[in-house]
C-alpha cells in the first residue's frame, strides 16, 4: 500500500476501526508485524485473532506453520525462526491454546499425533488429559489397518509410549496390550523392508529400544523380574526365577486380554520377560549364524558321543556341554553367539509351558518366517542331545523348505553330526560325503592353507584341534568344513581298524592324516606302528593321494630298513598302482627277492616327492569325491 511502515500501520488501525469484524484486516496487521520482525506485537495480534476468529481457515494454516516451525527447533530458515520468535512472545496459556487448536485441525491421525506429542512435551501437565485418548485412537486405527509395521503402531510404540508411560498410570490391561504391540512392532520391523527414517537401522539398537520400553512397562506394572531384562546371558539362578510353578489355568493361555483380570499374576510377567529374552537371543543367534557380508555363516557341530553300551546313561548333563565357537570368528561375535544361543535354549525350555500364548504371539510376531527359527529348534535338540529328534526335524526341513547350496551344506553337516552322535556311522559318512560335494570355494583370506608347504601354517592349526567332547559352531568356510569332515571320517575309520586289520581303511586314514599336518602326526605314527607289527601293507591308491614329504620319507624308511625283530623278513609294501596290462600277480613286491621291484618303489617315491608342492586340501577333497564309495565300505 505505501512504503512508509508508519503510514501503513495507521491505515490498518483505521481500517480495523471501520471493519471490526474483518478477519482480513486484522490478519494483515499481524502479517505486517511479522514482516517487520515486531514479534511481541505480532504475538498480541495473533492472540486477538485466535479469540475473535477461532475458525478462520487462514488463521488455522498460520497456526499450523507456527507449530511446524517449533517442531524443528534447529531450523535456519528465516521465516520459521520469525514464527518461533512470535510464539515465544505469547503467554503459555495462549501457546497451549494455539497448539491444541492445531491438533484439532489436523488432517489425519498421523499429523494430530505429531502435534499432540509436541504439546505434551512442552506442557507436561497436559499429558494426563491428552495422552489416553491419543493412545486409544492410535490403537483403534492400528486394529483397523492390521499392517504389522503401520505408521500408527510406529508412532504409538516409538514416540507416544516412551513419552507418556513414565508420566501416567494407565490401566494394567491396557499396558500389557501395549507391550504386545511394542513387541510385534519392533520384531516385525527388523525383518521388514519398510523403513522409517527416524528409527535406527542396527538391530542392536532396535532391540535396545524394545528392551528399554519393556523395562519401562515392567516398572509401571511393578514386575519384580524386570532386572532380568538387563542380562544377555541368563544364569541358572536367574533361570530358576523365571520358572513357573504349575500349569496354566485356562486353555486359552495365561494372557487373555479379553479378560479384565490380568496382570497381578506372576505368570504374566514370567511369560513376557522370557519371551522377550527368547526372541532377542534367537534373533542374534540367527544373525551370527547366517551368511552375511563378511561371515560365511555358522553351523553347529557335535562330536559328543552317546554310548549305546550304557543304555541307562542319563542325558548329557549341562556341565559337559562345552559350547564353543570357531576361532575364526572375532572374539565378540563368538562370545555373543554362544551367550545368545544358550539363553535362547534355556528360555525356550521355559516357554514350552506357555504353549498357547507363545503360539499366538510367535505367529503375530512372525517367528516362523524367520529363516533361522526352524534351524534353531533343530540346534536346540542337538544341544540337549536329542539327536534322533534333530535328525527327524532336519530331514523334514530339507523336504519342505527351500534348499540352496548353503542350506544343503549345513543340513548335511548337522545330519552328519547327529548320525555320528547316535552311533550310526554309515549314515554319518554318507552325509559327510554329500557335504564334500557342496564344499565352499576357497576364501581369499589368510588362514586358509594353500598349497605348498603346510608346515608353517599347520603349526598354527595345532592348537585348534577341538576337544573330544565338544559342541562347536564352525564357520561354513572351506577350511573349517573340510576339517570337520576329515575329523569325522577319521573317527569312523579308526573304529573300523580297531578290531581287525583293514589295510584300505588304514590307507584312507593315512591319506587323511595329511590334512593340516602335523595335526594328526601322532595318529600317523600309530598307524606306522601297526604296519610294522603286521609287517605288510597294501594300498594301491598310495601314489595317487599321498604327497607329504614326511610321510613319504617314513614309508621309504620302512621299505628299506630291515625289521629288527625278524631279521629274515622285510616289510611288504604294496604301494604302487596296478600297472596297466599286467595282472595282479605281477605287481612288484618289495620282498628282498625282486630287486627291480624295490628299485621301482624307490623311483616311484622319488617321483612322488616332486608332488610335495601340491595343495593337500585339494588332494583330500578329490580323494573323498573319487573314493567315497570305498570309504563307505562294506
Amino acid at each position: 500500500m505505501c512504503d512508509d511502515p508508519f503510514r501503513a500501520e495507521a491505515w490498518l488501525i483505521t481500517a480495523k476501526t471501520l471493519f471490526p469484524n474483518s478477519f482480513a484486516i486484522q490478519f494483515a496487521m499481524y502479517d505486517m508485524y511479522k514482516g517487520t520482525h515486531r514479534s511481541s506485537d505480532a504475538a498480541r495480534e495473533l492472540a486477538n485473532l485466535m479469540s475473535t476468529f477461532p475458525s478462520e481457515q487462514g488463521l488455522a494454516s498460520e497456526m499450523k506453520s507456527i507449530a511446524g516451525a517449533i517442531q524443528d527447533s534447529t531450523t535456519v530458515i528465516d521465516s520459521s525462526r520469525q514464527l518461533v520468535a512470535i510464539f515465544k512472545h505469547m503467554t503459555p496459556a495462549v501457546q497451549y491454546d494455539l497448539l491444541l487448536s492445531v491438533c484439532d485441525n489436523a488432517i489425519d491421525i498421523t499429523e494430530r499425533c505429531r502435534f499432540l506429542l509436541l504439546v505434551m512435551r512442552r506442557f507436561p501437565e497436559s499429558t494426563a488429559k491428552l495422552g489416553p485418548p491419543l493412545i486409544e485412537e492410535l490403537l483403534s486405527n492400528q486394529n483397523e489397518s492390521q499392517i504389522p509395521v503401520s505408521i500408527h503402531r510406529k508412532l504409538l510404540v516409538c514416540d507416544v509410549l516412551p513419552l507418556i508411560l513414565p508420566r501416567l498410570q494407565l490401566p494394567a490391561k491396557l499396558v500389557v496390550e501395549l507391550l504386545e504391540h511394542s513387541l510385534v512392532f519392533y520384531v516385525r520391523y527388523m525383518s521388514s523392508s519398510d523403513k522409517y527414517l527416524d528409527l535406527p537401522m542396527e538391530p542392536k539398537e532396535l532391540w535396545d529400544r524394545l528392551f528399554n520400553l519393556t523395562r519401562l512397562i515392567a516398572q509401571k506394572l511393578d514386575w519384580n523380574l524386570a532386572d532380568l531384562l538387563e542380562t544377555t546371558n541368563i544364569s541358572d539362578s536367574q533361570l530358576s526365577r523365571l520358572k513357573s510353578f504349575g500349569v496354566p489355568r485356562s486353555s486359552i493361555g495365561i494372557v487373555d486380554l479379553s479378560k479384565s483380570r490380568v496382570v497381578a499374576d506372576d505368570e504374566i510377567q514370567r511369560f513376557y520377560i522370557t519371551l522377550v529374552l527368547f526372541l532377542r537371543s534367537v534373533h542374534f543367534y540367527g544373525r551370527f549364524t547366517s551368511v552375511m557380508d563378511d561371515l560365511p555363516g555358522c553351523v553347529l557341530t557335535d562330536f559328543r558321543e552317546t554310548h549305546p553300551q550304557v543304555p541307562k546313561k542319563k542325558k548329557i548333563d549341562r556341565g559337559s556341554n562345552q559350547l564353543s565357537a570357531s576361532k575364526h570368528l572375532s572374539g565378540n561375535i563368538a562370545f555373543s553367539l554362544i551367550n545368545h544361543f544358550q539363553t535362547a535354549v534355556k528360555t525356550w525350555s521355559l516357554l514350552i509351558n506357555y504353549k498357547e500364548d507363545f503360539d499366538r504371539l510367535s505367529e503375530t510376531v512372525g517367528l516362523p518366517e524367520w529363516p533361522f527359527s526352524k534351524i534353531f529348534f533343530i540346534d536346540s535338540k542337538i544341544y540337549h542331545g536329542q539327536h534322533d529328534e534333530a535328525i527327524r526335524m532336519q530331514c523334514n526341513l530339507m523336504v519342505t523348505a527351500k534348499t540352496g547350496l548353503h542350506e544343503r551344506l549345513t543340513a548335511n553337516v548337522r545330519l552328519a553330526s547327529c548320525f555320528f552322535a547316535t552311533g550310526d556311522r554309515q549314515n554319518a559318512l554318507a552325509r559327510v560325503l554329500e557335504v564334500i560335494t557342496d564344499l565352499p570355494e576357497t576364501a581369499p583370506e589368510s588362514g586358509e592353507s594353500t598349497g605348498g608347504s603346510t608346515l608353517s601354517s599347520a603349526r598354527n592349526f595345532c592348537a585348534r584341534v577341538p576337544e573330544s567332547n565338544q559342541l562347536c559352531f564352525i564357520l561354513c568356510s572351506r577350511v573349517e568344513i573340510l576339517r570337520f569332515c576329515v575329523r569325522l571320517i577319521m573317527l569312523c575309520l579308526k573304529d573300523r581298524i580297531a578290531d581287525q586289520r583293514d589295510d584300505s581303511a588304514m590307507g584312507h586314514l593315512i591319506v587323511l592324516c595329511q590334512s593340516e599336518w602335523p595335526t594328526y602326526e601322532t595318529q600317523f605314527h600309530q598307524l606306522i606302528e601297526n604296519i610294522r607289527k603286521v609287517k605288510a601293507f597294501s594300498y594301491p591308491l598310495f601314489m595317487t593321494y599321498i604327497v607329504l614329504p614326511d610321510i613319504l620319507e617314513e614309508f621309504a624308511y620302512l621299505a628299506t630298513q630291515p625289521s629288527l625283530e625278524l631279521e629274515n623278513s622285510r616289510l611288504q609294501l604294496d604301494l604302487l598302482p596296478p600297472a596297466p596290462g599286467l595282472g595282479a600277480r605281477s605287481r612288484t613286491v618289495t620282498r628282498g627277492v625282486n630287486r627291480g621291484a624295490k628299485e621301482d618303489l624307490r623311483l616311484a617315491m622319488e617321483k612322488q616327492m616332486a608332488r610335495s608342492e601340491e595343495d593337500v586340501d585339494q588332494i583330500i577333497v578329490s580323494f573323498l569325491l573319487n573314493e567315497g564309495k570305498l570309504i563307505l565300505g562294506k
Binding site: 488501525i13 476501526t17 471501520l18
Partner: protein, 343 residues
C-alpha cells in the same frame, strides 16, 4: 509551631556559613513540613518557612543580587536535598518555596524557579520534576505564569548552545518523570496552538512516545479531572503539518501513528468537537495526506467515543471534506449510533 522553635532554628543557622547553612536550613524545613504530609500547611508555618528561606537559602534579605556562581551553588544543593527526601514532603517544600497563591513572592522567585527546573532537567531529579508538573497544574497550565516558564525552558532546551539533556539520551527524561514531560508538552501545545512547534520538539516527543505511548495519561498524584492533556494539541500539529514542505516525513508519520493509538484508548471528554471544527476551519487547501490524517483521527476518536460536543457538527466537518473512499466509509460506518453516542 511556636515562634520559640522558629527563633531557635534561626539562631542555630546564623552560626553557620554558606553552604552548610543552606543545606541545614532546607533540612530543617523538610523536617518541619514532614509533619504536614497530606494536609495543607498552616499559614503560620508557611510564614516561618519563608523567613528561613529568605534569610538562609535565597539570601533575599541582602541588598546585592546573588552572583551567578552563588546562584548555581544554591540551585545545586536544592537539587541534591530534593533528591534525597521523600516525595510528599518535597512537594510541600516546593510549594512553600514557590507559592502559587502568593504573587509577589512568586514573581520574586520566578528566576530561581526557572533555573531550578532547568537544572533538574539536566540532572534528572525526578522529585523536583514531579513537583513541578503538579505545580503547573495547580497554577493552571494556560496561565501566563506557566506559559512563560515553559517558554523559558524551551529556549533553554532547544536554542541555547549547550543543551546537555538533549544531546544524549533524551528519552531518559520521560523515564525520569513522565508527568513532567507530559505537562511540558501540554503547555507547549498552548504556546503553539495553531502553529507548529520547533521540529526538535516534535522529534523529542516522538521519541518519548516510543518509550511511553500513553504518556498523556500519566496520572498526576491526585486525580485531576481537569488536567489537560496534549492530545488535542498534538492533533492540531499533525493535521496542520504540510507534507509538501516536510523534509523528513517520518517524524510526522510516527507521531500520527502514535496519536491514533493514543486516541483509541482515550477516556471520555479528552477532545471537544469545537477543537475539530476550529481545526477544520483553519485548514486552507489541505493536501490529500492531511485530509487522510484528519479523517483517520476523526475515525479513531469516533471509535473510542471520546469526543464531547454536538454530533451534527462533527458530521458537518466530515462531510466538508472532498469525497474519498475513506471519508465515505467513515460516514457510512458512523451513520447510526456512534455519532449519536456523543454526549
Amino acid at each position: 509551631m511556636t515562634t520559640e522553635i522558629a527563633s531557635d532554628i534561626k539562631k542555630l543557622l546564623r552560626k553557620q556559613e554558606f553552604p552548610t547553612v543552606a543545606i541545614e536550613a532546607i533540612g530543617q524545613l523538610q523536617k518541619i513540613l514532614a509533619n504536614f504530609v497530606g494536609m495543607s500547611v498552616p499559614q503560620q508555618v508557611v510564614q516561618v518557612c519563608n523567613e528561613v528561606l529568605e534569610e538562609f537559602v535565597f539570601f533575599e534579605k541582602k541588598r546585592k543580587k546573588l552572583s551567578a556562581i552563588r546562584e548555581i551553588q544554591i540551585l545545586d544543593l536544592i537539587c541534591a536535598s530534593f533528591q534525597t527526601c521523600a516525595q510528599e514532603s518535597c512537594r510541600n517544600l516546593f510549594f512553600v518555596m514557590f507559592p502559587p497563591t502568593d504573587k509577589r513572592l512568586l514573581d520574586q522567585r520566578m528566576p530561581i524557579l526557572t533555573r531550578l527546573i532547568s537544572l533538574a532537567v539536566t540532572l534528572k531529579v525526578d522529585t523536583i520534576l514531579d513537583c513541578a508538573a503538579f505545580w503547573f497544574h495547580v497554577v493552571g497550565i494556560k496561565t501566563t505564569v506557566s506559559l512563560q516558564l515553559v517558554e523559558y525552558l524551551l529556549r533553554d532546551l532547544f536554542e541555547s548552545g549547550t543543551s546537555p539533556c538533549l544531546s544524549h539520551e533524551p528519552a531518559l527524561l520521560v523515564n525520569t518523570s513522565p508527568a513532567f514531560c507530559a505537562t511540558f508538552v501540554t503547555a507547549t501545545t498552548f504556546i503553539y496552538s495553531m502553529r507548529l512547534p520547533p521540529k526538535a520538539l516534535l522529534e523529542l516527543l516522538a521519541t518519548w512516545l516510543e518509550e511511553n505511548l500513553y504518556l498523556s495519561y500519566v496520572p498526576l498524584e491526585t486525580v485531576m479531572p481537569t488536567a489537560q492533556t496534549f492530545v488535542p494539541g498534538l492533533i492540531r500539529w499533525i493535521v496542520l503539518t504540510d507534507p509538501n514542505s516536510e523534509t523528513d516525513a517520518s517524524v510526522t508519520n510516527r507521531l500520527h501513528l502514535a496519536l491514533l493509538k493514543i486516541i483509541l484508548k482515550a477516556p471520555q471528554g479528552i477532545i471537544q468537537v469545537d477543537n475539530f471544527v476550529a481545526l477544520f476551519e483553519a485548514l486552507e487547501k489541505p493536501s490529500e495526506l492531511q485530509i487522510e490524517r484528519f479523517v483517520q483521527i476523526l475515525q479513531a476518536a469516533l471509535t473510542a467515543q471520546c469526543v464531547q460536543g454536538k454530533p451534527e457538527e462533527l458530521r458537518r466537518v466530515i462531510e466538508g471534506f472532498p469525497p474519498t473512499k475513506l471519508r465515505d466509509l467513515v460516514l457510512e460506518y458512523n451513520v447510526k449510533d456512534p455519532l449519536q453516542k456523543l454526549s
